[in-house]
Amino acid sequence: MVAAALAHLSVLEPLPSASQNPPARSPGNASYRIRAVLDPATHHILATGTLAWRNISRATVNELRFHLYWNAWRDATSSWMREQALAGNRGLARRPAEDFGGIDIGTLAIAGENLVNRARFIAPDDGNTDDRTVLAVPLQKPVAPGETVEVELGWTARVPRTFARTGRIGNYYFVAQWFPKIGVVTEDGWNAHQFHAATEFFADFGEYDVTVTVPRGWVVGATGKLVSTADGNPGGVQHRFVQADVHDFAWTASPDFIERRERFEEPGLPPVEMRLLLQPEHARQADRHFKATRAALKYYGTWFGAYPYEQITVVDPVTIFNPASQGESTGGMEYPTLFTAGTRLWAPTLGTQPESVTVHEAGHQFWYGIVATNEFEDAWMDEGLNTYSTARVLEAAFPNQFAATARYFGGLAGWAYPDVRWSRAIDGNRLNAFRPVASFENQATPTWKYWPGSAGAITYNKTALWLATLERTIGWNATRAILATYFRAGAFRHPTPREFFALASEVMGQNLDWFFDAVHRSSATFDYAVAQVTSAPAAGGFTHTVVVRRIGDGVFPITVRVTCEGTVRLLNWDGADRWKAFEVLDTAPITKVEVDPDRVLLLDVNYTNNSWTARPRAAEAASKWAMRWLNWAQELLLTYAFFA
């Protein structure tokens, strides 16, 4: 299979580079012009604007649908809040009333007629009548295919204390999903889901021309390029940002940001201006942020396709060190040409923070920003591909640098454990967090239907693990070819899973459905094990019988390596039956049996049972670690008895 893949690669087109024309740009059918004023005293944003929306479907549209995401944080009754509670985050509902936010539309007019009074909130997913995150606006005049409608908008947004990395804390404002955001029309009609705890966003591309007014002395970062600033207004300073071919617009403002700039330059890739907005206490970590951003732009650009925008803004958010009082996470989050990273004051250099989150969110510029898949339904397509890609970049750019870390003393002190090295296969692809929820979902289920408590592991981890499995099955060159081709084909579009799978088979020149059926369209768990090894004397040697068992429901072709002293045999099994007995004749005693010796199937949740040896060292290892534990326990006893 690997050989076939490599042979096929020789006839593939070369990967895109800066010397070639950039990929075709977006349809640009949802463009906004917005003027917004931030009032930090009341935590409100007053905004007006226009939306130019073109119907790019083949059906006439009789109503418009808008996402009002911030209404998820209006009170505890929204679907987002209810799902968070289901996932165990019940404390969110008990937050003070002042922490909540929301969005109120005053004007939603077409051709001078305000349609607000005709609009109604709908809950197409779960029927929750208290949910106000999707607004349906019936049109007096339907919009025909290809036709453009201009919508005048006026709204007030109350900025919440941080929810889902959005909102305010102190003088730090991160403002995302803050405007009435038009949904996406597909051939099946509106694809405008409610805001769910486990999902993010989906929107059409367009041009954003946004002017935000903030108090003097505040630093502003936003999607797009800063084209002008204007002082002299009583409300503060106006900052105007413009960006075409993006599907969202987020901005941030704070008087405390430290600003750094560097330029990304890499042979074969277009230069990118990098702007970093840091919290003052993280000033010493500027280089770590830039290095990680460079790594993402370089490796994603080289492997999949170049970053097409002129600039990228990295925002270091205020650290949430006490979620019980400060608010919910402010960590990493992606928006077009801008993302938040996240680090800590005490961030060991052996730790993956901030590098991992920075690479991940910068990587989302590719898997999300440029290839804009439907995050409501197929979140694995951006989060999963990106988790896999992040791990690969971390390994390539920071070889052998990372180790496990833990946080102590209220989370304020980070401590590295140099003996526990970071590995791409397990840590990068997040196997350990996936293991307990491996059978919770069929990944092909729309993401918004996932159990909120395990959605992350199914979306991020499982995808990364099966992509790494694919890489180990067909090789990196073939995997890269699939992803690069997919990137090129999906850039500035909304590719679907079906397209991805078809394209993967096309690139490989063989049908890969067997693979995707096993790893994606199923909730089966994979677990192969050595069940039994016996030997009997035979003429001239031994007959060794090796029984391999399929403990999990998942089926995957497996290689079994049997070693008899110096002789190694590789035996293949389709992995379908519940068990398989192999008979091996050899003159020497059997010494080792390894099921999946190269650990191709990274989704196997128990690898310890994959091997057998005639000279087990379990007792030695157990003694070693029991003694270590003994020392630790003695110290624990002494510590707790110190005051006795």
Binding site: G410, Y607, E620, W629, F642
Partner: protein
């Protein structure tokens, strides 16, 4: 109840001000001169943890079975296998994580203690039993350190027995104070105040300073209770007190009248522990160290820590004895059971020319 030397003012002039550093050094010297006690307590600690370690050893061996994963686990930390073990772990097995490694294990334990985090139930039981063991041994140890010379094993355990019930009564009172500190003061500091003061805090440096200050407040409270309890035990042994309430009150009086020196001595002892921890930070064996070498280094560290704890007790005893003119009574002759150190001391004083 015997009359307090402090209250009867029978202390000879010139012995009133015991140097803090002198008491500290003498405390270390006395423990150095009592190696059997230190090694025995270490051995007791070892044996106390050994059954739990044996259980864990069985679990690890069973999980690894005949797997080749044991090869990597035998030479270093096999993170992949350890995660699989952790995923199926139950009870005490859940404590087997990479947080037992090196100085990180020390950090983790200190952090959990100071943050009042819940512990594995088996460990809670073990800690409770171990503290009871300490309560039992404390009388004998203090008696031995107060005398400053070897005593027979039978005398040591007789002293343990003599003071065990008294110290249990003391433990109830002192334990109530600790319980109040952890159940009321700790939440007040680290939930009510910390949450209130960090709500709009955006700079982690401020949080670090605040939390550090709150730890200091909590440690001061913890230290004060511990200081009072320490001198109550010292007075109970040296003065053969039977009423633990009177011992506590006497301890408070003693500390109040010498507040800066008693707390200074306390801090000096704490500083010694910090120095030991700093050395452990550099010396803690890595996961790849040979098992027996790692065990040896760890036992040396624990021995020194135990030594520091006993020196803590000894220096406070020396200080008390020095302050109340009892420094001489621990000299020969060999005590004869059931004579208490107090009776022996009085006897010594009576024989003085």
């Amino acid at each position: 109840m015997p009359s307090s030397p402090e209250s009867s003012r029978t202390v000879p002039p010139g012995a009133l001000r015991t140097p803090v550093l002198g008491a500290f050094l003498e405390g270390w010297r006395r423990v150095f001169a009592a190696p059997v006690v230190v090694v025995s307590v270490l051995a007791a600690t070892f044996l106390f943890a050994l059954p739990m370690a044996a259980l864990l050893r069985g679990s690890i061996a069973a999980h690894l079975g005949s797997s080749l994963e044991a090869d990597a686990a035998a030479t270093g930390w096999n993170a992949g296998w350890a995660a699989e073990f952790e995923a199926q772990a139950k009870g005490l097995e859940r404590t087997f994580t990479f947080e037992i490694l090196g100085f990180g294990g020390t950090m983790a334990t200190l952090s959990r203690f100071l943050d009042n985090e819940s512990l594995n139930p088996t460990l809670v039981i073990a800690i409770g039993a171990y503290i009871t063991l300490w309560v039992f041994l404390s009388g004998g140890i203090l008696d031995r350190l107060a005398r400053g010379r070897p005593v027979r094993t039978s005398a040591f355990f007789s002293a343990c027995g003599t003071y065990f019930v008294r110290f249990l009564r003391l433990a109830v009172i002192v334990g109530s104070a600790y319980w109040w500190l952890f159940s009321w003061l700790h939440p007040f500091l680290f939930q009510t105040l910390y949450n209130r003061w960090t709500r709009d805090m955006t700079d982690e440096r401020d949080a670090l300073a605040l939390r550090g200050a709150l730890y200091l407040v909590f440690l001061v409270a913890l230290g004060l209770v511990s200081l009072v309890a320490d001198y109550a035990k010292v007075r109970a042994v040296v003065e053969d007190r039977r009423s633990m309430i009177s011992a506590l009150l006497a301890s408070i009086r003693f500390i109040r009248r010498r507040f800066f020196r008693t707390t200074g001595l306390y801090l000096l002892n704490i500083f010694a522990v910090i120095v030991i921890l700093r050395i452990w930070l550099s010396a803690a064996p890595s996961a790849t160290a040979a098992p027996w070498l790692a065990l040896l280094v760890a036992q040396v560290y624990l021995l020194v820590r135990l030594w520091a704890k006993l020196a803590f007790m000894a220096s406070e005893t020396v200080f008390f004895q020095g302050e109340l003119a009892h420094a001489q009574y621990t000299a020969a002759p060999e005590p004869v059971w059931p004579d208490s150190p107090s009776a022996e001391g009085l006897d010594n004083l009576a024989r003085r020319p």
